[in-house]
């Protein structure tokens, strides 16, 4: 099945019906393994048991940026390739991305209080992630404020591509500016600096959360396709009602003129 085949919403719905149960099962199994490994991971020599927050904070932080990346590709799909499901994908991803970003912010804050002595600091990393969260909310508001999805899609696609500038800023903020946040310790030149006792649970949790995103995203895209079917059927229903009332009014007028003529 190619990307062109998936341009047909009915084929896409059929595909999601087949694969969603498998994806949900795989996500549950991976999450269970990841949570077990996180629980069994040793305490850090400096951070103690608070290092366990890393296993949920970091996957959420990665996904907050990854989802925006997915929306940026979808935005190109809307503006350049005009793929029929591109704006469906973008709209469905926004609330999920906002949820992951919210969780990254709050778990980071809860990790920061015991480690840094503060819940919040207006430094480059924290502020740029907060801006990302606000941009997600802005996109959701934009989608909801324009009734016609195809009109909202173009504006949302442009906003998404402009907002993508923030992603490298978030990634490299810890290198470009002085910040409380630690520098990259997994995806960096020279390999990860994390011990394997922490790295493996983290990678399993990251994979589990990525699968969770794919599962939720496909399900949300299915909902959006159904919502658009509801909308088009409601419009058909409304136009039929308007047409039949016009015809009714026309035949009454014709009947009246005949009566006048007869008189």
């Amino acid at each position: 099945m190619t990307l062109t085949d998936l341009a047909n919403p009915t084929r896409f719905l059929a595909l999601t019906t087949r694969i969603l149960p498998w994806l949900a099962g795989a996500t549950t199994v991976l999450l269970a393994i990841g949570l077990y490994q996180s629980a069994m991971a040793p305490d850090d020599y400096q951070q103690g048991a608070t290092v366990k927050i890393m296993f949920i904070h970091v996957p959420n932080a990665w996904l907050s940026m990854f989802v925006w990346g997915v929306m940026s590709v979808a935005a190109l799909g809307t503006l350049v390739w005009r793929h029929p499901l591109a704006d469906v994908a973008a709209k469905a991803a926004a609330p999920i991305g906002a949820a992951f970003t919210f969780l990254a912010l709050v778990t980071g804050s809860l990790w920061g209080r015991p480690m840094w002595g503060t819940y919040w600091e207006w430094d480059a990393r924290l502020t740029s992630v907060l801006i990302l969260f606000l941009m997600y909310l802005g996109l959701i508001a934009l989608w909801r404020s324009v009734e016609d999805p195809s009109r909202a899609a173009r504006a949302a696609a442009i906003l998404t591509l402009v907002g993508a500038i923030n992603i490298p800023i978030i990634k490299f903020s810890v290198d470009w500016w002085n910040t409380l946040h630690q520098p990259a310790s997994v995806f960096r030149m020279g390999g990860p600096t994390l011990d394997k006792a922490f790295l493996w649970p983290l990678l399993v949790m990251a994979l589990a959360f990525s699968l969770l995103f794919i599962t939720l995203h496909l399900a949300a895209m299915r909902n959006e396709i159904l919502r658009r079917r509801v909308r088009s059927l409601q419009m058909m229903q409304a136009s039929r009602v308007a047409f039949s009332s016009e015809v009714g009014a026309g035949s009454r007028d014709g009947h009246a003129s005949n009566e006048i003529g007869a008189a």
Binding site: T10, G48, A49, T50, K52, I56, H57, V106, L110, R229
Partner: protein, 59 residues
């Protein structure tokens, strides 16, 4: 497994993530059921797709 003096921060973090993920799942399932019900209502009132296929047909 001892969580040390900062157990409340760790437990709150995990509980919050679980709550938000469960909320997302419930919201998506509820939305799916709502759209299916609306489509069935429309089909029952005689409005059908141009293709003539059932509105809830995904096969």
């Amino acid at each position: 497994m001892s969580l040390g003096p900062y157990a409340s921060f760790i437990v709150t973090s995990y509980a919050l993530v679980a709550a938000v993920v469960v909320l997302l799942i419930v919201w998506i399932i509820a939305d799916y059921r709502r759209q299916q019900a609306r489509l069935q209502e429309l089909e029952a009132s005689g409005v059908t797709r141009r293709s003539g296929r059932s509105t809830v047909d995904v096969r």
